[in-house]
């Protein structure tokens, strides 16, 4: 009996191919927007969450005259010979700062990293105080960072746990950073102060050792503001208590990106709601017309003994089949759209250091199933009222084409 209703529903759909295809296409489009929108929203939401935890310092303190690289996502010191005392900020007892992390940066050549003529940035940090390097770790060994370990920037090749010779000394590749979009980070080799200082004699060679490798010196400090403190307050406090430094604050690009993404999310949400409503309305109107057109047939079915529930079941089955197929096609379309998205916007975002992390596969499958179920629900809602009304009418009225 159930198969008879399914068969009737399928045949009815096949009878008006153009209309059925139009219905399927409209539902596919709506489902695609909902599916893609939901996935992108969750992914963007997650990416923003991760992005915030990965964010670099609020400002940077470097020797006056040093080059700085300010990007949207983090602050880095460019290699320079100028240095500061390692305890320069500690001495100032600055209450407007909550965290301070020193970095030593040395640009070296003929180190054995990369090809023969490649220069490499060796970046030292204090693992216990660092808050700008380790959050970028995309993969790492399952143990704490140890002396002799190095972390590679995203553009460096090497397997986790493999040996990396730096000036002939063996080091272990402990981890790798995600793409940051910042050259220093992309090509950098990160290590603890102790590991970097152990290379001092090799780096210096026959010449003078870089000033940053001295135990009491640092190339600069990455600073996080205390809650409630403003960048202006911190800058004033630093400049008034520490001589020979310049304070570099992050620009407004990051907040611009954040605001842009938030607006994008709102836009996607509005578009989803609009698409859902318009698809539901269209399906309802279409099924109203279909039921009206088929009232003689429905009346006939009632006359030969079809129960109201059977008439209703047949129409609902027809709607679920059409909108379910539409939902399925919408998911396929959504996947294609997301692949395009990945190759364009995601690529661009990652290049400027804004991470984009897709939600995991099981959740994506759940969203796909949800989109198909939602499409079916639209079909059921669309057909329910006109079919219910028709099923309540006298068979004779329907057979005569009334109602």
């Amino acid at each position: 009996m159930r198969w008879l209703l399914v068969s009737l529903a399928l045949q009815n759909l096949g009878r008006r191919k153009a209309r059925s295809l139009l219905l399927v296409a409209a539902v596919a489009l709506g489902s695609s927007v909902v599916f893609t929108g939901a996935i992108l929203m969750r992914s963007i939401d997650r990416s923003m969450e991760v992005g915030f935890t990965r964010m670099g310092a609020d400002m940077m303190v470097v020797p006056e005259g040093a080059l700085t690289n300010i990007t949207a996502a983090l602050l880095v010191v460019e290699p320079t010979d100028l240095v500061l005392d390692a305890d320069a900020l500690a001495k100032g007892q600055l209450t407007s700062l909550s965290r301070v992390a020193a970095q030593k940066i040395v640009r070296v050549e003929h180190s054995g990293i990369g090809s023969h003529h490649d220069s490499a940035d060796l970046i030292g940090f204090e693992p216990a105080r660092d808050f700008t390097v380790q959050p970028w770790l995309s993969e790492k060994l399952n143990r704490p960072l140890q002396p002799g370990d190095v972390i590679l920037g995203a553009a460096r090749e090497g397997n986790l746990g493999a040996q990396l010779l730096i000036f002939g000394k063996p080091h272990v590749i402990y981890g790798r950073l995600a793409r940051t979009g910042v050259g220093t980070h992309e090509r950098g080799v990160f290590m603890s102060f102790a590991t970097l200082e152990a290379l001092a004699s090799a780096i210096g060679g026959r010449g003078k050792q870089p000033a940053a490798l001295a135990p009491d010196k640092a190339s600069g400090f990455l600073v996080e503001l205390a809650p409630g403190a403003t960048a202006l307050q911190a800058r004033f406090a630093i400049l008034s208590s520490v001589k020979g430094v310049k304070v570099v604050a992050g620009d407004t690009t990051l907040s611009g990106i954040r605001q842009g993404l938030a607006a994008l999310l709102d836009g996607i949400l509005a578009l989803m709601a609009l698409m859902f409503a318009s698809t539901a309305l269209m399906v309802s109107v279409l099924f109203s017309a279909i039921v009206t057109e088929r009232r003689v047939e429905l009346g006939l079915l009632k006359a030969i003994g079809a129960r109201r529930s059977q008439v209703l079941g047949m129409m609902v089955t027809e709607a679920v089949l059409a909108t379910g197929v539409g939902g399925l096609l919408g998911v396929v379309l959504g996947v294609l759209v997301m692949r395009l998205f990945e190759r364009s916007l995601v690529y661009t975002l990652e290049n400027v250091g804004v991470p984009f992390i897709w939600i995991d596969t099981p959740r994506m499958i759940a969203f796909a199933a949800g989109a198909i179920v939602l499409a079916c629900i639209i079909g059921v809602l669309g057909v329910l009222y006109p079919a219910w009304r028709a099923s309540r009418r006298d068979a004779y009225d329907l057979v005569r084409g009334e109602g």
């Binding site: 009737l8 009632k302 030969i304 003994g305 006298d394 004779y396």
Partner: protein, 222 residues
């Protein structure tokens, strides 16, 4: 077999209530062939719809084999129509997307009480009896109007009904086909003992009936 008491039907239109049937009492014995005649708009089709459980009366009752059919629930009435009454309408009432054999089997399948194979065997036998044994797999659009009407008669018989209601079953057919269709219906009445009620405005068809009910302006006039 069939008993109607003070049966009334009025329709609400833009110009107010229109009375189609104005209090009809009717008795039809089991196994008889009865004809309900009258001019167009006399109320004969409305009467047949109420007798067949297709249109709810405004007032009065219809009893078929002692069952007050309009006192039944929707589902029970549907089951009653399905099992006890066969319909032959004045139009070709076959589902266009189903083959003739599927159309004939449909009422039995909707009833859900019989095995599909038995149903299809019977549908095949009935279509063979109607001279459509070679057209089991044909779609309605692939056969003539007369053949369609014969398939409708086969469908009306699939559940072995006690009562067959035929509403102008030959109205759009040529004379020869009309005779063939009437022969089929009369054979059903005589050979199977099925009560046959024919609604028609064709007096020559009505003359073959054992009981003639003449309706005018919604009341029985003779």
């Amino acid at each position: 077999m069939l008993s109607c008491r003070q049966l009334r039907k009025s329709y609400l239109t833009e110009r107010g209530d229109v009375t189609a049937v104005a209090g009809i009492d009717l008795e039809i014995e089991a196994g008889r062939f009865s004809a309900i005649i009258g001019r167009s708009g006399s109320g004969k089709s409305s009467l047949m719809a109420m007798i067949g459980g297709l249109s709810r009366p405004s007032d009065g009752s219809v009893r078929v084999d002692g069952v007050d059919i309009w006192g039944l629930s929707d589902d029970a009435l549907a089951a009653f129509r399905n099992g006890r009454i066969g319909f032959v309408f004045q139009f070709a009432s076959l589902l266009p997307t189903l083959r003739l054999i599927d159309n004939v089997a449909l009422p039995a399948m909707l009833g859900g009480r019989r095995v599909a194979r038995d149903v299809y065997d019977k549908a095949s036998t009935l279509l063979g009896r109607m001279g459509l044994g070679d057209h089991l797999d044909a779609y309605p659009s692939e056969v003539s109007a007369g053949e369609q009407r014969r398939a409708v008669i086969a469908r009306a018989l699939i559940n072995d009904p006690a009562l067959v209601l035929a509403d102008e079953p030959t109205s759009d057919l040529d004379e020869q086909t009309e005779i063939e269709i009437m022969d089929e219906l009369l054979a059903v009445n005589r050979e199977l003992g099925t009560t046959l009620v024919l609604v028609t405005h064709n007096l020559s068809l009505a003359e073959q009936a054992q009981q003639i009910v003449h309706i005018a302006n919604g009341v029985v006039v003779s």
